[in-house]
Symmetry: C2
DNA sequence: CGTTTACACTAGCGCTTGCTTGGTTGACCC
DNA sequence: GGGTCAACCAAGCAAGCGCTAGTGTAAACG
């Protein structure tokens, strides 16, 4: 059992697991269902993952890692004005939420099913991401672009953004960038 | 099996079930755990509820029903200015989220575990609540208190509010009213 | 060539799950 | 004081669960 590796095979299996976790929820997804989706038998699954928990952790790690990379890239690519950076973060957030939807839905809904060790490890990743947000919020506050409590504003913004997975329809008329722009407009006191 | 009634006994059992569902998640909560928490044996549980699903539906119905009543009362109690009504809705929302926290956390996290019939029934309740919000948002838009797309603004606000169950600490320095006021300030373009 | 390695299989163990069945208890009612 | 009824219990069934053990196989390696 080569449990620790980052093989492309394992990446693909993780992606398929995410799909099922979204459809059925973690607890209702059996190892037999996972195996069938992957085109193997349930026993073979444990060649790639130590146990079912590890599959969940892999899914969430993937999604969070990607979000962090996307956000850092987006910040690196834009100028230093708080407005530009706020837009960049919001757009990057919504873009990962779309392209990597399954993994993020799992991260949002099944976080509590992680065992304590996995949770501790993944908390660091998530904290790094949230710190990015707080920095950008701080800059916007410093420039007078927005007002209010830094802690509360960043929580409110994260909530508004994450809630989109509940109602956003990719087939609808609105693009993720539309949402991002409207949200930033809403909190920066400029007409949309 | 007196399944349909609204006995006070059943209300109390529902409250205890909500507690467990929050702690363990619906799927991980066994009927034996529920029975123990209720001080009865697992078999006796099915005297009060048809099956495990019905307990979940009862928990969510309770919470949503209460939220609807609270919101309507709050609106009835305040004057007709959009600002006052916006505050009233936000405060009422956060107050139920606090006093009825268990039921609302279950509604937010375990909604997808409902079977189709229960979901259809409860959707109406939830829609009624969301319609209230959209009306108040409409009034605020009409008065020029806020700007933007009615649909998007109400979704963003609901997201920001519902996300609070993730991070809000009732023991902390902030009251629910503080949060409500800060949120309204954030979207109405007035300094906090 | 023989050995190793990655990946898959079959078969099933030990346990837990939601739920059923058949029966007991005690409070209330005419 | 016999009948009714809500509330509970003891016992257990059939199904499904995560996971393990042991084996097969084909490609890669020296």
């Amino acid at each position: 059992m080569n449990v620790m590796n980052e093989s492309p095979r394992r990446k693909e299996l993780t992606r398929q697991a995410a799909q099922l976790f979204v459809q059925e929820g973690f607890d209702r997804t059996t190892v037999r269902m996972l195996a069938q989706e992957m085109g193997i038998k349930s026993g073979s699954l444990f060649h790639h993952f130590r146990d079912k928990q590890e599959i969940l952790a892999a899914v969430i790690e993937e999604g969070t890692q990607n979000a962090l990379v996307m956000a850092r890239d987006a910040l690196a690519r834009c100028d230093s004005s708080a407005d530009a950076r706020l837009h960049a973060m919001a757009r990057a957030h919504l873009e990962t939420l779309l392209t990597d939807r399954n993994a993020h839905v799992v991260a949002l809904y099944e976080w509590r099913r992680l065992d304590p060790e996995a949770r501790a490890h993944l908390s660091h990743l998530r904290d790094a991401y949230e710190t990015l947000w707080e920095q950008v919020i701080d800059e916007a506050l410093a420039e007078g672009l927005i007002h209010g409590d830094r802690f509360l504003v960043s929580r409110f913004v994260m909530g508004a953004l994450n809630w989109t997975v509940r109602w956003y329809d990719p087939e609808g008329p609105r693009t993720p960038d539309d949402l991002a722009d409207e949200l930033v407009a809403m909190i920066t006191r400029r007409p949309a």
